[in-house]
Amino acid sequence: MRTSNDIVEDMQQSGYSEGFITEIESDTFPPGLDEAIIRKLSAKKQEPEYMLERRLKAYQYWQTMQEPHWGKVEYPEIDYQAISYFSAPKSGEDAPKSLDEVDPALLETYNKLGIPLVEQQLLAGVAVDAVFDSVSVATTFREELKKAGVIFCSISEAIRDYPELVQKYLGSVVPHTDNFFAALNAAVFSDGTFVYVPEGVRCPMELSTYFRINEANTGQFERTLIIAEKGSYVSYLEGCTAPMRDENQLHAAVVELIALEDAQIKYSTVQNWYPGDAEGKGGIYNFVTKRGICKGDRSHISWTQVETGSAITWKYPSCILKGDDSIGEFYSVAVTRGRQQADTGTKMYHIGKNTRSTIVSKGISADRGVNSYRGLVRMNKGAETGRNHTQCDSLLIGDQCAAHTFPYIEVANPTARVEHEATTSKIDANQLFYCKQRGLSEEEAVALIVNGFCKEVFNELPMEFAVEARKLLEISLEGAVG
Amino acid sequence: MKQTSSLLSVNHLQASVDNKPILKGLNLEVKAGEIHAIMGPNGSGKSTFANVLAGHEDYTVSAGNIHYLGENLLDLSVEERAHKGIFLAFQYPVEIPGVNNMVFLRTALNAMRTAKGEDELSAPAFMKLIRKTLAELEMDDRLLKRAVNVGFSGGEKKRNEILQMALFQPRLAILDETDSGLDIDALRQVAKGVNKLRDPQRSMILVTHYQRLLDSIEPDYVHVMADGRIVRTGDKSLALELEDKGYSWITDEEAA
C-alpha cells in the first residue's frame, strides 16, 4: 500500500500533482487514420450500421477541410496520421460487473486522483461515470437514476440501446460540418457520456464524469450528449486530469446539450490537464466544441468553466437561444501561465423573443501565458427585447504575459439591448500592500485577490466543485509573483 | 372644507403591470386647492398610482375611470396631460445625457405654452422668469448649466423637480416619494418650495412612506393604501397614529 507520504513525494517530484502514468496494458490501434481504421473502430465498439455511416460521412467531409488558425494560439503542426484513434484498457474488454472486478491498478489511479469512487460518492451523492482512456469502466448509481427515469450511460451504450434518441439528437447541435475538430470527432469519437432526463424530472443528483488521458500519442475524442425533456433539470459536472508526457496530446471533444420547454441544464467544467513544462513542452491541446440549444420556450442552459490546464485551450461553449424567453449563461475563469495559451469564450445566438444571456469571463495571465476572450453576441431580427450583458475582465501577473479581448456584437433588432464591459489591469498594488500589511505573504495575498476576482464565476459552481476550483487556482498560481 | 367642484375623480381604478394586478379598485376625489397625502407600505401601489395618473405606458388600466377637469384622463397622451396641468415629481428623476437642463426647461415650458395657444417665451424672457423662480426657491443656477439630472446628487435631483414644478405652475402636482433619500436640510428646502407653491387653484397629491414630510407640508387628507386600494382616510392625525403604530396596525385590521 502506498502511504499518503508517497503521494506527497510524487507531487513534489513531478511538480504536477496529477502527472503520473498508470501502467496498464492497453489495447491500442496503430497510429493513423483512414476508412479502414474507422470501420475497425466501429466494429470494435459493436456499433449499429447507422453509426458507421455517420462516421464515414464525417470522415469524408473532414478530409475536405483545413485546420483553422484564426485563434490567437501558436503550436507546431499536428500530424493526424501519427495519432492512434483507439485505446482501451484490456481489463475493460469484458466489462466488470462490480467495482471488485475493476483492475486494482485502475482503482489505485482513481484514488491518487482523489476521485471518491466508493463511499465518498454515496456521501457526496455523486454518480461517477469514469472514463479511463476511451472506454467506460465503472458506472455507479445507475439503478437509482433509473428509478427516476434518467438515462446516464456511455455514449457507446446509448448508440446500441437508444438508437432513436441518438439518431434524433446526435449531431443536431454540432453537425459534423461545423468545424474541423467537430468533423474529426464525429468520425473517430471513442466514447463519452449520454444523459437523458425525461419530462418533468429533476435529476436526483449531480452527474459527473472524470476524464483522463493516458497512453502516449492517443487522441482523446469524447462525445457528450445531454437531452433535457420538458420541465426537467440536470446538473452535470466534468473534471479532467492528465499524466505527464513529452509528446503533445490532442483532445477534440464535442458536447451537445438540448433543453426543451422549461428545461434547465447546468454544465460545469474544471479542466486541469497537464499544461506542459515551463517551456510548454508536453501539454495537452484542448480543442473542444461545446454547444447547447435552448430549443423550447423558457429553457435555460448555463456553462460554467474553470480552465487552468492544457498547453492550448480552444473552446467556446455556446448557446442557441431559439425558444422564447430562453436563457443562456457563460461563466468562465481561465488561467494561463508558463507557456500556456487559452483562446476561449462563448457565442450567444439570440433567435427567440425575449431571450436573455449573461457572460462573465475572468482571464488571468501569468509568466508568459496568453489569454484571449473571444465571444459573439448575435441578436437576430426576431430577437424582440433580447438582452445580453457581458463582463470580461483580465488580470495580468508579470510583464511577459498577454491578455486579449475579441468581442463581436451583432444586433439586428432595435428592441434588443446589449451591454459589454471589459477591463484589463494588473493586481492592484494598494490591495497587495493592504493584505501584506495585515500579515499575509505575497502569495497568500495574490491568492486572496485572485479568488475575489473570480468570485462571480465560482459562485456558479456546485459547492464541492467550487472548493476544488479555488484550491486549483491557488496551486496554479503558486510562484507566479515575485 | 371649501365647497368646490372636483378637480380629479378616480373611480374603482384597476391597473396592472406585466399582467400583474397592482391597483385593485382605487377611489379618490381631489378638489381644487386640496393637499392629499397617500401613505402605505412598500408594494401597496402608491407609485403605480402616481405613474398611472401621469400616463406611463407600462401600466395598463383594466377597469375603472379617471376624470380630470371634466375630461376622461385616460384618453389623453402623456404630454397632453402635462399640457393640462398634471405634473409628476418623479421618485427617481432620470438622467438625460447630453441634454442641457436650461434647454430642456425652456423646451418644455414652450411646449406647454404652445399647447395652450400662448406665444413661446423668448430666450431673454425665459432667463428672467427662471432667475425669478430660482430666487423664490432660494436656489442657485448651478444645476441649469449641466445635463438634465446627470451626475446630480439625490437632493439636487429632487430640487430640480421642484424647480420645474414652480416653473410650469401645474393644476395637479403629484409628488412621488419626493422625501425619499433626502437629508434633513434637503428635505427642508424641498418642503419650503412646495409650501410656496400652495395655491387655492392648485391641488397636490403627496405620495410618501414616512410621516416626516407631513410635518413640514400639512395635508388636508391622509389616505392609507394597502394592496392596491385606499383602506383608510383621515386627517393629519392619522399619519401620526401610523407613525406610532406602524402599517401593520391597519393592514392587519384589513385582513381581519
Binding site: 484564426w70 498577454a402 444586433v411 | 397622451s77 404630454e79 409628476l88 447630453g98 441634454v99 411646449a111
Partner: protein, 437 residues
C-alpha cells in the same frame, strides 16, 4: 472572366497608365498585380460588405478629361469659416489654388498642392511620404499610392502655433459617370508646432463618385493637432479614407470624425503612439439610414511607455442603415503605464437598422489600465416618459434624446463654425424619428 476579375484588371491597368515616379509607387503597383479585393475572410474586412464599391469601374478625373471651372459661388455655404480659417479647396481630388485662401499664413508654414511639392522635390515631403501607409494595407490603399497625383501638403515648422484652423473642403462632382477621386494628404507638424485641421467632405450634386483617399500625419515631439473630419457626401458617393498618424514624444492628437454621408463609407484611423507620453483622443459619431453602410475602423497602437488614449465612438442607425464599428487598442510589451479606454455606444431607431461592433483589446504589457465598453439599444423609454411628462411632444423628445446622445461627440469639435454646422445637420436628420412598431 468574372465581373470582379474584370474590375481588378481595370484598376491594374489604370495604375500602370503612367510610369511610376517614386519607388513607393512601384511597390504599390506590384501589390496591385499580386493582390485582389479584400474580402470577408480578412479579419479587418469581416463586416465590410464591398458590393457598392464593386458595382462600377471608377475612373480618376484626370483620365476622364472632365473639366469644370469651379468658382467660390458654386461652393455656396460649404466653406464654413470666412476670415476665421485658412481655406483649401480640393475638387475631385485635385488641389484648387485659385479657390484657396491662405493669406496671412506665417511665412514658414507650408500649405501646398501635393503635386507641386512633389515636382519641387520638397525635402520634408520626400522624407515622409508613404512612410506610414507602407506599400499597401489593402488594395485600395495601393491604388491610391500607385496612382498618386495630388492632394494637400501641410508643414508647420517647429514651435509655430497656427492662429486659425486650416479648413479643407473636398467637393466632388462628375458628369460622365463613375468617377474616382484619390486625394493624398501629408501633414507634418514639427517639434512643438500646434495646428487645427478641419476637413469637410461634400458633394456638388448626387453623382456617382468614389473617394479613395489616404492621409499621413506626423506629429513630432510636443506637437499638437486638432483634427476634425466631417463626411457628409451625397447619396451615391462611396468614401474610403485611410488615415495614418504617427506620434512622437509628448505629442497630442485630438480627432473627431463625423460620418453621415454616402451610400458606403469606410474610415480607418491607424494611430501609432511611438514615443513616451504621447496622447491620442478619438471621438466619432456615425449615422446611417436609407440603406447606407458606414464602417468605422480604429487602430490605436501603444508602442511606448506612459502613453494615453481615449476612444469614444457613437452610432445612430435609422431606416435601413447599417454600421460597423471595429476598434482595436493594442498595447505592446514595452508600453508600460498605458492608459487606454475604448467605448462604443449605439442607438437603433428602426426595425431594419443593424449594427456590428467589435471593440478589441490586445494587451501585452502588465502595468496598464485598459477598458472597453459597448452598448446597443433603443431610446430609453423612461427618458422619453420623463420628457413627455414635462409636456414635450414625443417626436421632439426623441430628437432631444438623440441629440443629447450625440452631444458629447459634437462638443469635441472645438471650432465653433463646424460645431454649429454639425449641430444643424443633426437636428435636420433627427427630426422625424418615429416609434418602433
Amino acid at each position: 472572366m468574372s465581373d470582379q476579375q474584370a474590375l481588378l484588371a481595370h484598376y491594374r491597368a489604370l495604375a500602370q497608365r503612367d510610369q511610376p515616379v517614386l519607388p513607393l509607387q512601384q511597390q504599390a503597383q506590384q501589390y496591385l498585380q499580386q493582390h485582389g479585393f479584400p474580402d470577408k475572410k480578412i479579419e479587418d474586412w469581416h463586416y465590410t460588405a464591398l458590393n457598392p464599391l464593386l458595382e462600377h469601374a471608377f475612373t480618376p478625373a484626370s483620365a476622364m478629361d472632365e473639366t469644370l471651372e469651379l468658382d467660390r459661388h458654386t461652393l455656396g455655404d460649404l466653406l464654413l469659416g470666412n476670415e476665421e480659417s485658412y481655406q483649401v479647396v480640393v475638387y475631385n481630388g485635385a488641389y484648387q489654388s485659385q479657390l484657396s485662401k491662405t493669406r496671412g499664413l506665417p511665412a514658414a508654414v507650408q500649405i501646398d498642392s501635393l503635386q507641386q511639392a512633389l515636382a519641387g522635390q520638397d525635402q520634408t515631403l520626400m522624407a515622409h511620404l508613404g512612410k506610414l501607409s507602407g506599400e499597401g494595407e489593402h488594395l485600395f490603399n495601393a491604388l491610391n499610392t500607385a496612382y498618386l497625383q495630388d492632394g494637400v501638403y501641410i508643414r508647420v515648422p517647429a514651435g509655430c502655433k497656427l492662429d486659425k484652423p486650416i479648413e479643407i473642403l473636398h467637393v466632388s462632382l462628375s458628369f460622365s459617370g463613375a468617377l474616382m477621386a484619390q486625394p493624398r494628404h501629408l501633414v507634418v507638424l514639427e517639434a512643438g508646432a500646434e495646428a487645427s485641421l478641419v476637413e469637410h467632405y461634400a458633394s456638388l450634386g448626387d453623382s456617382l463618385c468614389f473617394n479613395n483617399m489616404i492621409s499621413e500625419v506626423f506629429l513630432a515631439e510636443q506637437a499638437k493637432l486638432h483634427h476634425a473630419r466631417l463626411q457628409n457626401e451625397s447619396r451615391q458617393t462611396r468614401h474610403l479614407a485611410s488615415l495614418y498618424i504617427q506620434q512622437q514624444q509628448a505629442s497630442q492628437y485630438h480627432a473627431t470624425s463625423i460620418a453621415m454621408g454616402g451610400l458606403w463609407s469606410r474610415i480607418e484611423f491607424h494611430n501609432s503612439l511611438d514615443a513616451p507620453g504621447a496622447e491620442a483622443w478619438h471621438a466619432g459619431l456615425y449615422m446611417a439610414g436609407n440603406a447606407q453602410l458606414n464602417n468605422n475602423h480604429l487602430k490605436v497602437l501603444h508602442r511606448a511607455a506612459g502613453c494615453r488614449s481615449r476612444e469614444v465612438y457613437k452610432g445612430i442607425l435609422k431606416g435601413q442603415g447599417r454600421a460597423v464599428f471595429d476598434g482595436l487598442v493594442k498595447v505592446d510589451i514595452d508600453a508600460q503605464q498605458t492608459h487606454a479606454h475604448l467605448s462604443n455606444a449605439n442607438l437603433l431607431l428602426s426595425r431594419d437598422a443593424e449594427i456590428d461592433t467589435k471593440p478589441i483589446l490586445e494587451i501585452e504589457a502588465d502595468d496598464v489600465q485598459c477598458s472597453h465598453g459597448t452598448t446597443v439599444g433603443q431610446i430609453d423609454p423612461e427618458l422619453l416618459f420623463y420628457l413627455r411628462a414635462r409636456g414635450i411632444p414625443e417626436h421632439q423628445a426623441r430628437q432631444m434624446i438623440c441629440l443629447g446622445f450625440a452631444g458629447d461627440i459634437v462638443e469635441t469639435l472645438h471650432w465653433p463654425p463646424l460645431r454649429d454646422y454639425v449641430e444643424g445637420l443633426l437636428q435636420q436628420r433627427l427630426q422625424h424619428i418615429t416609434r418602433i412598431g
